[in-house]
């Protein structure tokens, strides 16, 4: 079997555990797929040279009777913002070139404990700041559906790797849409879990109160298995909580009958691409035809979500990125004659333009005299947005929007206009500000490019998302479409 790369995670794990195929065969198939497609996609920053030997040890564990491995032998791509011990973590930034962390992120360690094998580290926007992966300090990643288009971002490498079948599953991180938006652009499933569901230990922080790691997969069920594996309280993260899934498979067994789907029509009036809107309406019709009940919901403060997000996220980022000062690790600018010069030149040369822009913005909004007008007010709006959702969920089980206002844009199209780029996040940032879980699932094509349907549910009610998402998959064949590679 040479096309083992076509299998999804559940199939791989089942076959490996039944010893129908070996983890080594699966890994070889994916490594050669990467070798073949990587020159066109550029999804990876690092490929794990120990992947095969790890596959061998999974095979021997299985032969010794180890069956408690829901992801036995499943290759997984990891966004380069999550640590894997003894493998470089660069966050796609020059300032961390060759940085090797001494510990593994909790979510990655949990994935490995479930039997998954780390394929490598994927490309991203530098420090997860961006919506196109063009802000990588190393190279842009291309959308597997069209080499001229971006894969989205910031977890563009992970989304592209899963879409191009270089990996059945991947981990990304989502601060303002960085999992859901590239999932939509690449036509795969992506989940941003409830804030606190997945440990952030080993996730290099962009905006600590918004960051969450989550899965990419080609089916909702695969995403559910990954989410179950990585979830749960971690003693290394004081903001993590214990809300494990009892059984990942049971979570996805629902259908759409009686599902109350809220749609914030007011919020969708302007700026949505016609093709995207068509796919979105079709998706709603399909849900309704299978018994879902549509509701109009009001989320009045979402109008301020993007502004609020760019204050909170940049403020936290300006502080989180202060540690890259060239003193202890990473690249230090040579030739400085005093401390301030060393700091200045290290950071000037090490960070890309977008990162610098956000550090400056974040520093400004926290400055004495501006704090109340920006940061404090943003926190108040954030509380109001949260309250909007609380009220909306009184009358519905999930809230549906398009994941993005438009499908993937062209490489270079928005790089000169940061504001336009920021508006990419308009439908995804509310879930981060409120801490809610969100799912993006393929729901059609617009001009040959994938469109994503976003579903959000109550805090820690990922079960509802998975049930709804799985029901939608059973109704449609969008998730079976593959890019023309």
């Amino acid at each position: 079997m040479t096309d083992l790369w076509r299998l999804n995670a559940r199939e791989i794990s089942e076959k490996v555990r039944k010893r129908e195929v070996s983890a080594v065969e699966v890994m070889r198939a994916h490594l050669s797929r990467i070798e073949k497609l990587e020159p066109r996609i550029d999804a990876f920053l690092h490929v794990n040279e120990h992947a095969l030997s790890r596959a061998r040890s999974i095979d021997s564990a299985v032969s010794r009777g180890s069956v408690d491995l829901p992801l036995a032998g499943v290759p997984a791509a990891i966004k380069d913002v999550l640590h894997v011990a003894n493998m470089p973590t660069t966050c796609a930034s020059k300032i961390l070139r060759n940085y090797v962390p001494p510990f593994t992120a909790t979510c990655v360690a949990r994935l490995e404990r479930a039997g998954a094998i780390i394929l490598g580290k994927t490309n991203m926007d530098e420090f997860a700041m961006g919506s196109s992966t063009e802000n990588s300090g190393y190279k842009p990643t291309r959308n597997p559906w069209s080499a001229a288009h971006v894969p989205g971002g910031s977890s563009g490498g992970s989304a592209a790797a899963v879409a191009a079948q270089m990996a059945p599953i991947a981990l990304g991180t989502d601060t303002g849409g960085s999992i859901r938006q590239p999932a939509a652009f690449c036509g795969v499933v992506g989940i941003k879990p409830t804030y606190g569901r997945v440990s952030r230990y080993g996730l290099v922080a962009f905006a600590s109160s918004l960051d969450q790691a989550g899965p990419f997969a080609r089916t909702v069920q695969d995403a559910a298995v990954v989410l179950a594996a990585i979830s749960g309280r971690d003693d290394h993260d004081a903001t993590s909580v214990e809300r494990r899934f009892p059984d990942a498979h049971a979570e996805t067994d629902g259908d759409a009958r009686g599902l109350r789907v809220g749609v914030p029509w007011e919020f969708l009036k302007r700026g949505v691409d016609a093709g995207v809107m068509t796919s979105f309406r079709e998706a709603l019709d399909q849900l309704q035809a299978c018994g879902a009940l549509l509701r109009d919901v009001s989320l009045p403060h979402l109008a301020h979500a993007v502004a609020t997000y760019y204050i909170v996220a940049t403020a936290e980022a300006s502080s989180n990125l202060a540690r890259y000062d060239g003193v202890r690790y990473g690249r230090r600018a040579e030739g400085a004659t005093d401390l301030d010069q060393m700091y200045g030149e290290t950071r000037d040369r090490g960070f890309g333009a977008e990162v610098k822009r956000r550090i400056i913005l974040g520093t400004f909004v926290l400055s004495s005299g501006y704090y109340d007008a920006y940061y404090l007010r943003a926190q108040k709006v954030r509380a109001l947005i949260r309250r909007d959702f609380e009220a909306a969920f009184e009358s519905c089980d999930v809230i549906a929007t398009p994941t993005t206002p438009s499908p993937a844009f062209k490489i270079g199209e928005k790089t000169d206009d940061p504001l336009k780029m920021y508006l990419e996040d308009v439908f995804t940032v509310p879930a981060n500000l409120a801490g809610l879980p969100g799912l993006s699932i393929p729901c059609g094509l617009s001009a040959g490019l994938p469109v994503g349907l976003q579903l959000m549910s109550r805090w820690f009610d990922e079960s509802m998302l998975l049930r709804a998402g799985h029901a939608f998959e059973r109704l449609t064949e969008h998730h079976l479409r593959r890019p023309p590679l």
């Binding site: 999550l82 640590h83 973590t89 966050c91 961390l96 940085y99 962390p101 001494p102 510990f103 992120a105 952030r200 230990y201 080993g202 996730l203 290099v204 922080a205 905006a207 600590s208 109160s209 003693d235 290394h236 993260d237 004081a238 903001t239 403020a315 936290e316 300006s318 502080s319 990125l321 202060a322 540690r323 000062d325 003193v327 202890r328 690790y329 401390l339 700091y343 520093t363 926290l366 400055s367 004495s368 704090y371 940061y375």
Partner: protein, 487 residues
């Protein structure tokens, strides 16, 4: 000089102190590294306290418990919800580029520390106590590479600190000294901190301003840093008050700034002006949830508190009848107070115990620069000696020698008295024999005495004591001499 004193007296200094105390926890505040001083650089470090990318802080409960003890010992109100905040600034000893501290919502507020003031006590209000992490230490000298670079020791990074901030209630450098001594004693008693200023486990910054006496408005203040001993705090404040008064008197204005104390030169020098002051861009720490303390936790912290110095001082005065000053000295350290109390109770003579501890034990310890824990004379041994005096076995004068011998040999008083035959001669016939001999040999002195110069009695006492090598009971000698001379 007299003029200067008069001028100085027209001004009232207003002083507030900010004290940082390292907490005596087993581990650092946000990671499991040991909290230990004095080891090789960078031997107690991990991804968290090094601020490596992807690491997160997890709050130590023990640090909170100790901070609450400090808050209760200074009569503060503990806030059931307090919030950690990031204080942002760049410095090589600060690995994350921010210090995790508390800002708008500290752990505890509105307490006080008592200091002695004319026969009674005065309260210096504590405005707030908050928890924060310590920074590392720059190593500028003492290494092979010190000529062209500096090193950083991160062993101290993440050691838990509390910052205790007073209201501007202090009026003199002496009061500042008293406050620090009292606060230090309280923290040490409560086993919150070592209180060692030289090693940096207790650090102090002072805010100083002056105003003309009677004026209500505060003058412009300066902040003085780098005060590494209680004595230096007092010296620096004294110097700063004089500097500000002289400046105003010569028509100048005090500038709001941070000044550094230079102990060698005995003066403060400008470090940075208000314009150069950092904008720390405080904001709530998103990596740590709000710190919630429930009443049970506060109660268990309260139960773990020992009797505090101010309470103990009060009890010593009332219960043992010793002077306020003595009680103050004896309670400055818990060990000294324990020592005194054991000897006072066992001997049943608290005044003697107080005198011996104050004048002899503490003096000898200071001479030998030893801690009380290494004192060769235990409270039990001191008690034995006090009882020998009270029972008339040895005189107070001999006791001084006995104490010296106890100190140098560690032997009990009874054994020293026995071996060296220092027991007082209380046998009247033996003393009478000596007196008869002396009176017989010195008819001239007897005549002087009998001619009305009663002071000559002293001469005879001295002769008798010399003959008996100081062992004769002085009361008995006096009595028998009078009998013999008065005829």
């Amino acid at each position: 000089m007299r003029d200067w004193k008069a001028i100085r007296a027209r001004y009232e200094p207003v002083i507030g102190l900010e004290v940082h105390a390292q907490l005596k926890t087993a581990t650092k505040i946000f990671c499991a590294c040991p909290n230990r001083f004095g080891d090789e650089p960078n031997t107690h470090v991990c991804p968290v306290c090094l601020g490596l990318p992807g690491s997160l802080p997890v709050l130590s409960r023990q640090a909170v418990s100790l901070a609450m003890r400090a808050a209760l010992a200074t009569h503060c109100t503990i806030q059931t919800t307090s919030i950690f905040a990031r204080k942002n600034y760049f410095y090589p000893d600060l690995p994350k580029g921010y210090q995790i501290s508390q800002y708008e919502r500290p752990l505890a507020t509105e307490g006080y520390v008592e200091i002695p003031a004319n026969e009674g006590f005065r309260r210096i209000r504590v405005q707030r106590i908050h928890i924060e992490e310590d920074a590392g230490k720059l190593l500028h000298e003492g290494f092979a590479w010190s000529n062209d670079k500096s090193g950083i020791d991160f062993n101290r990074t993440g050691v838990p600190l509390i910052e205790i901030v007073t209201a501007p209630d202090i009026r003199t450098s002496e009061e500042a000294h008293e406050y620090l001594a009292a606060l230090r004693a309280t923290l040490v008693y409560a086993e919150v901190s070592d209180g060692n200023m030289e090693e940096g486990s207790l650090r102090c910054d002072a805010n100083v301003s002056v105003r003309r006496s009677g004026e209500a408005a505060l003058g412009t203040r300066t902040e003085i840093k780098n005060l590494n001993s209680i004595r230096n705090v007092a010296r620096a404040i004294e110097h700063e008050i004089s500097r500000q008064v002289a400046l105003i008197e010569s028509g100048g204005d005090v500038v709001q700034e941070t000044r550094l104390w230079n102990a060698d030169r005995g003066e403060t020098v400008s470090m940075r002006s208000k314009e150069e002051a950092h904008d720390y861009r405080y904001f709530p720490e998103p990596d740590l949830p709000p710190l919630l303390v429930d009443p049970e936790w506060i109660e268990s912290a309260r139960r773990s508190l020992p009797e505090l110095p101010s309470d103990r001082r009060r009890r010593f005065i009332e219960h043992y009848g010793i002077p306020a000053y003595d009680a103050g000295v004896l309670t400055l350290s818990r060990e000294v107070a324990d020592y005194f109390e054991e000897a006072a109770r066992a001997s049943g003579n608290p005044k003697a115990a107080s005198n011996w501890v104050m004048t002899d034990v503490l003096r000898k310890l200071k001479e030998d620069t030893r801690p009380l824990s290494a004192c060769p004379v235990s409270p039990g041994r001191l008690t034995e000696m006090i009882c020998l005096i009270d029972d008339g076995v040895i005189s107070g004068k001999i006791a001084k020698d006995v104490f010296e011998k106890m100190w140098s040999t560690g032997a009990p008083a009874g054994m020293i008295v026995e071996c060296e035959e220092l027991t007082q001669v209380t046998d009247a016939s033996a003393i009478e024999a000596v007196i008869a001999e002396i009176v017989g040999a010195h008819a001239d002195q007897v005549a002087v005495y009998r001619n009305g110069k009663k002071a000559a009695l002293g001469w005879f006492v001295g002769q008798v004591m010399r003959k008996t090598q100081g062992k004769a009971n002085p009361r008995l000698v006096n009595e028998l001499l009078r009998k013999a001379l008065d005829g």
